[in-house]
Each structure stands twice: as C-alpha cells, then as structure tokens.
C-alpha cells in the first residue's frame, strides 16, 4: 500500500504591499505599533485590480514545477481550495489544467473552504492515493479576500492578505504514515460569524455584501475546538504533545496563536508563528508557514508536524504530517 507524503510546497504572494504605516494613515488612531502588537502582522500583500486567485495559484504551481522534481505530465489529480474564484463557472481547477498544461486525464476539482481547507485537501489527496485512484496529487490553495473586503473595515483589512500555494503529494510504497491522524469538525450554526453575502443571492458592490467577521465569536470558537482537535489527532495516533516536533496552526492572528499555544501547553520552540510579513492568508496560511519553516531550516527529514486549520464555516481539521 502507498502512503501519501508531502514532497514539496511552494507559495506565492501578490505584489501590492499593505504596510501598517499605510493603514495608520488610512485609519487615524489605528497606529502601526498597535496593529503589530494586537495581530503580529507588519504587512500583508493584496492582488492588483486585474489579478485573481487563478493567477496566484498558477504562479505558485509554476514555482513548484521550477524548483522541485515534480513531473507535471505525471500529475493525475488536481485539488483547488478557494473561496474567491475568479469566476463562478467553470472551476479554477479546470482553468489551471489548461494554463499549466496538465494531462487531460486528470481528476480536477475545486472545493470551497477557508482556513481549514489545507488540511481537508491533504485528507482528499491522501485518500485518493490510498485508494489507488491517484499517484501524484497537486493540492492548490488560492484566495483574494481583499476583493470581498470592505476597505473601510479596519478589523479585516488589517488581518487578511492574499496568497496562493501549491503542494505536491505523492505515494511512497510500503509506508503509510506520511499524513495521518485526521480529525474534522463542522458547525454551520456559526456560519454568520465569518461570512460574505456576495453570490447569486446578493450581487453588486454594496458594503452590505462584504466579508464580515465577528472577532470575539471566532476567538471563542477557536478556544473550544483547537485544543480539542490537537488532542484528538494525537490520541488517534497514540502520540503525546512531546512526540510532535513542530506545531503549525492556521496563522489567524499571532496574538490568538500565542494564547492557543499556552492553552494547549506547546513549548515555544516547537510552535511556528510565520505571519508577520504575510497576514492571515486563509487557506494558504499553513502551506505558507510550512514553506517559511523550510526556508528557515526548521524542517528536517522524519519530523512529525501537527497541522490544524480552523475558521470560516465554521469548519476545522487537524492532522499529523511526517516530513520526508
């Protein structure tokens, strides 16, 4: 049996930089220092007017193709996680198959999830591999929340950044614990706490339709589900906190992450916070952080890394990855 492993991860940021100093000028009284202290974010990047999630996804995939041993002609499944597709129809996955020149005999699918989306994607990818339906999976995340944000809403403008990522997942014969310990959760009763009304029901550019976030509700939700998911994922694998080499949680807000770290009891040196220069990039935050950890030399072969995504939905998921 083939076990699925992450073989390589790349991320891409758009070019428009939004610094805290810029936000301070836009929102008098909302000082750059305060934003950094409260969110752990110094700058975030947003897509240009004519740049969309498809473009961020394509660039991330091109980086992966240029820098890893992946053979694009061998990719037999393409999963795209986005909540801000360039068009409603057809899917981003279908467009990417063409623009990236991927095989026509490919399983290609979009799915709509936010901050939990990367872990769900790893689950889909490893299931396709374990069931023999695919051997080489390209998992893509891409979002441009900047296009659905009310530019006057400083609580979301200061948090979210646009980005895309591409992850190569492949089966390794005879070894089955590359990605395991999956835990999932959904609570649609909290749907309104982080939502955007834009869609077929509500169309136009009205601020009413923009992304709105109830910070305290989202915060309370994470306090409940994240420590529990971490514990359940470890328990499924018969592991303890001490068996994990690195914890990579969805990079929601550095302040919130620090609180979760202490609440769960994770040592500081095993906890990754990598959002200072990107902001909260939704479904891309975990792969972006993994890439950052790799660049910083923090990832070593054989390491066990616990991933946990949580947010819009409300939706959450966790798993443990064994780094190749």
């Amino acid at each position: 049996m083939a076990g699925a492993y992450i073989k390589a991860v790349r991320a891409h940021l758009p070019s428009v930089e939004v610094t805290n100093s810029y936000l301070e000028r836009r929102f008098p009284g909302f000082t750059a220092d305060k934003i950094l202290a409260k969110t752990g974010i110094e700058k975030r990047y947003v897509a240009e007017e004519g740049e969309f999630s498809t473009d961020l996804a394509r660039r991330a995939c091109e980086k992966l193709f240029e820098s890893s041993a992946i053979d694009p002609s061998k990719i037999d499944a393409l999963l795209v996680c986005t909540q801000t597709p360039e068009t409603l129809i057809p899917t981003t996955a279908c467009k990417l198959q063409d623009t990236l020149g991927l095989p026509r005999e490919i399983f290609a699918l979009d799915y709509n999830l936010g901050c939990s989306g990367y872990v769900y994607g790893l689950s889909l990818a490893s299931s396709l591999i374990a069931s023999g339906q695919a051997k080489q999976v390209l998992l893509v995340t891409a979002d441009t929340y900047s296009k659905i944000i009310d530019p006057e809403d400083r609580s979301v403008v200061s948090i979210f950044g646009d980005a895309g990522s591409a992850t190569w997942i492949a089966g390794v014969e005879g070894d089955a614990d590359g990605i395991s310990g999956f835990v999932f959760g959904t609570d649609g009763s909290g749907a309104d706490h982080l939502a955007c009304g834009y869609g077929l029901k509500g169309r136009g550019d009205s601020h009413e339709l923009a992304l709105r976030m109830n910070g305290p509700e989202i915060f309370n939700f994470t306090l409940g589900v994240v420590p529990r998911s971490v514990k359940e994922s470890l328990s499924k694998l018969g592991l303890g906190l001490e068996d994990i080499d690195l914890f990579v949680l969805h990079q929601a807000n550095a302040f919130m992450l620090e609180h979760l770290r202490k609440k769960i009891g994770i040592p500081e040196e095993k906890f990754l916070v990598a959002m200072r220069n990107t902001g909260n990039t939704v479904s891309t935050s975990i792969p972006m952080a993994l890439r950052e950890a790799e660049l910083q030399g923090k990832l070593r072969s054989g390491m066990r890394i616990l991933l946990a995504g949580f947010g819009v939905g409300l939706s959450w998921a966790a798993c443990v990855v064994r780094w190749l």
Partner: protein
Amino acid sequence: MEIQDLIRLIAEELGVDESLIKPSAELAGLPNWDSMSVLGMLASIDEKFDLQLDVSRLATCKSVADLMGLVNEAGSGS
C-alpha cells in the same frame, strides 16, 4: 472572580490605571476599548480564570458591572 479582578484585567488590557475604572463605567467609553481589546480581555479571562463567555451577549453589556454579570454566568455554568 471578583469585580476588582475584572477591573484589573481590563486595565491591563487597555493599558490604563485600574483606579480609573469604576464598576459603573461604560465599556465603550473606556480609553482604547475596541474589538481587539475585547479579544485580549476574552483571552485573559480564559487564561486566568478558565472561563469562556457567551460572546453573543457581549453587545448587551454596557458597563463593567454588566460584564461582570456575564462572567458570573459563565462561572456558574449557566
């Protein structure tokens, strides 16, 4: 948790002297009070007292004393 504990916690979060915060003080009128300070306060209450408030009712809390009521409800498990 007593009201003075809550006042101390709010004062720390807002970076003001606790003697300036009275139980009758309006939350919205406190210096530096905004959505981010609310998150900080929720985190402190969770960390120091292991209590999670019913935040859907936060908006109905006008004063520090109202907030204390919500904290007490969380503490009594209701």
